[in-house]
Symmetry: C2
Subunit: 270 residues, 2 copies
């Protein structure tokens, strides 16, 4: 660990814009904290890419955030968390948390019958990270994890209510009814934007777990544990950085974060 | 231009695997030519990314192919062609062709009423490259170019016959009927895999232009013009390189190229 100022920002990163939902939850729950958000929009998506490539990108971004003076890092991307969290914790000189554990614990708390579903990218599902995290929190839980590769492009196209999205959701989510799942983890930061459609397809009795709020609560715990909470006189500042076109980030980012995004810096890799 | 051996390979690159359809057409039309194919699978897709980022990636790959000893380069990616072709021609010491001009010329030849449609990625459409190329070949042509962002993920998911894909295609392609288009350019190397569905939606009277065959014909012209055709004793060899997981390239690549892919090397950037 390096010496850091409690009023330093928290670093938050994602493959693109989806992690802004996590940053937004942190902003609401911890209004004194400053944030530096990095979206790797030049290399998005991470979901279909190999564990090695995702680890390489995540480490690069982690060290870049350290250079920006962050006091802690939140990996706000499920795929990066699934593949890279242990390595980031080993290599980076500040505390690091991800989005998988908070979502897994929330699902265990919410489920009554112990049958939990997870929807995520191919990379996250293949990594087995959610199954491990849920079973660690509740060894008797029965977990069904399924990849939904078309959900991210549907959200990015803005077709969250389109009949085609409905057909896609019906096909992807059908197996959960068969497994009598009573709790479904939205294991990708894009998926909360499909919540109304997913709700319609799985019915009113299935609890939907969105890890953004849980991750913000975990962020608070991490800061307290390491005595890193911003002081009472701190004034929060938000900085946004993307690896591709800042204008696109600015326009689409408002869908996730609202009007607090006024300016986006660019930092390219490779 | 640098001195090169006529029996040196042709370099072919794409953001991912789609360009293998172009490589395959070159293999069939020019069986004596060796190929080095590079798929930038660690940074795919290029379609939604900014012109600057796509140019940076394309230049990096172009110089890498030069290091591999290629005698000429075929940019087998519509988005990379649209954003980066002029710069690649300026900077690289070998002849370079792209996929846009061949497709545009083929469309002009095929159309009877001069009303030509183009479907492509957001980047290709925004660049205006097809509109310029078609109007250069036929100043009286009327071009309608539309982005179809969900087509690539649908092809990658293998849902080329799915009812959801049909709904998506109907919505994307509806404007072409209104514009009385008689010829439609498939301006992305993934789209030929959706040909049956696109044919069904646009009807039997619209000609579908797939630039792979046209680009292979252009490759022959380029080699003849520069006196670079492989000699009669040349024996063709095919080499495949990806920036991400070679296993995935091997498995999915066969969908585009058949069994000639036996091995895939890895070269990472950044």
């Amino acid at each position: 660990m390096i010496a850091v100022d409690r009023d330093s920002p928290i670093g938050v990163f994602d493959s693109g814009l989806g992690g802004l939902t996590v940053a937004h939850a942190i902003m609401r729950q911890l209004p004194a904290e400053s944030l530096v958000y990095f979206g790797d929009t030049a290399r998005v998506p991470y979901g279909p890419k190999s564990p090695e490539t995702v680890r390489r990108y995540s480490t690069e971004i982690g060290f870049y955030l350290i250079e920006q003076g962050v006091k802690a890092i939140v990996v706000a991307c499920n795929t990066a968390t699934a593949h890279a969290l242990p390595q980031l914790r080993d290599e980076l000189p500040v505390p690091v948390i991800g989005v998988v554990d908070p979502g897994a614990r929330a699902a265990v708390k919410a489920s009554r019958n112990g049958r939990i579903g997870v929807i995520a990218t191919q990379g996250t599902v293949k990594s087995g990270a959610y199954v491990r995290a849920i079973e660690a929190a509740s060894p008797s839980a029965r977990v069904t994890a399924l990849a939904c590769p078309l959900f991210v492009p549907l959200v990015e196209e803005g077709w969250t209510e389109h009949e085609a999205a409905r057909l896609v959701a019906r096909e992807y989510l059908a197996p959960f009814a068969h497994h009598e799942v009573d709790t479904l983890v939205l294991g990708c930061t894009h998926y909360p934007l499909l919540k109304p459609l997913i709700r319609e397809v799985v019915g009113p009795d299935v609890r939907l777990i969105d890890s953004a709020e849980e991750t913000a609560a975990d962020t608070r715990r991490m800061l307290m544990e390491h005595d890193l909470m911003a002081g009472p006189t701190a004034s929060a500042a938000y900085r946004f950085i993307a690896s591709d076109d800042p204008q696109q980030f600015l326009t689409l980012g408002k869908r996730f974060f609202g009007d607090a995004i006024e300016h986006v810096d660019v930092r390219t890799f490779g």
